[in-house]
């Protein structure tokens, strides 16, 4: 509501400037429309010119990298069928090395999923998630003989007998909070389930050669640029 003040100032300016201008000194109070128009246009032009300078050091969002889209309330991270079979028979670690993981989402939620290709990882996928400032510590994990991992707002339950392939750490790098639109996310197929809240988001780090396939209509998948 404090914006009423500047708007009133603008209105007053637009009224006062024509009044005090020479051309307005006519019998009776008569506004000079040309002055009103030119004052307004000068004002908005100045704003446009000054905007990048005034906002230069402010928090910003690179719209080309961090867009926002409506997403699904359930997100699934699916591996190709042959890898699912591997997981189900517990024969091996989660070696996704046929180079593709598929991300799939369901309806009606807004979320951002970051991914990063890194040469620091060779045969594992690292899934991190961002939490509120109160909860940046590495997450607790428990292991059971069932290939499922659950994340929730209050904590995480890691139920995965091939746990070495997943490392969950707090995602401490700060991003604009607007990109952490949450909801319930379920990364399945690979059996990672997560119930993320508004201030949380995933970062999935994968080796360079892994290809990520996803349905872009459902949620935002952002390649992280460091």
């Amino acid at each position: 509501m404090t914006l009423f003040l500047p708007i009133i100032i603008i209105v007053v300016l637009l009224l006062v400037i024509p009044l005090i201008s020479r051309t307005a000194k006519q019998p009776g109070i008569k506004f000079n429309k040309s002055v009103i128009i030119s004052t307004y246009f000068i004002l908005i032009l100045l704003s446009t010119i000054l905007y990048p300078f005034i906002t230069r050091n402010m928090h910003t969002v690179d719209l080309s990298v961090y867009g926002e889209e409506w997403g699904g309330d359930v997100i699934e991270l699916k591996r190709p069928e042959n890898l699912d079979e591997l997981s189900q028979t517990f024969e091996a670690t989660f070696d996704y090395d046929n180079d593709t993981i598929q991300l799939e989402a369901h309806v009606d939620y807004l979320t951002t999923l970051f991914y990063e290709k890194t040469d620091e990882l060779i045969d594992e996928i690292k899934v991190s998630y961002y939490t509120s400032e109160n909860d940046k510590l590495p997450l607790n994990a428990t292991y059971q003989n069932e290939p499922e991992v659950w994340l929730s707002g209050g904590g995480m339950l890691f139920i995965e007998d091939v746990y070495k392939e997943y490392r969950f750490t707090a995602f401490t790098k700060e991003f604009p909070i607007t990109h952490f639109k949450g909801g319930s996310h379920w990364l399945s197929g690979s059996k990672i389930g997560a119930d993320l809240r508004e201030e949380q988001s995933f970062l999935i780090q994968v080796p360079e050669h892994v290809q990520i396939v996803y349905e872009e209509d459902f949620y935002e998948l952002v390649e992280l640029q460091r």
Partner: protein, 246 residues
Amino acid sequence: MMSLNKVSLTAVVKQQLLYKMKAYKSVYTTMILIQLIAFVFSIGGVGSSGGGSEFIFVNITYIGSDMIIIFTMMWAFIIATTITRKENQLMDVSFVTTPITSHLSNLMFIILMSLIGAASAILSGFLLKLLFIIFKGTDNIIVSHYAIGDILLGIGSLSVYLLLLSGVGYLVGALIQRFPILKMILPAIVIAALFFEGRESGVLTEMVTFFAQEKSLLLLTFKVVAAFLVCALLSIGVSTRMEVRR
């Protein structure tokens, strides 16, 4: 009295256009007033979303020129309908004029008006955002930076939409001048149509979709220019039937 000077169509249209640009200053002061009203409506933001958990509650308010754009669109439509009013037509009698030159100068004025309206609507968004930053501080504000290309694209696409609306407005104005009874009937038709469209999508929805969902600026411009020409020709056709000024 007959004039012996032979003047070209272009010269007459140009003369009338220049005259109208000076005479119709109230068009722009109205636009400024309307945009300032839109500023007031934008105070609380043009949209917001929020959510939270046990740790944190996040409320996001979006500040932008959406409301200014909507108000400017209404302005463009209304102004175009008023240009065809009798008192404005009488203004043309001060010059050597024909219905064609009068219409051409009006249409040129509308094109110019659309450009100016679009530029001011887009650029005033920056003024609004700066006012927010200046008076509310920089905390908790995430700004978006724009390239000049983005701004020009915004102005270009809004100009095209304003041109479409003012073209339709001009046709409506011409029809009302020809058939004054339409003053009463047209609003009723529009309201009734909106009710019907609300139930199931019909022609109106199809028409809006045809223009609003076009993603290519070039194609949109082509569509709008075609629609504008149709509106202009219809307006001229309707008006020239009233050859004798009543």
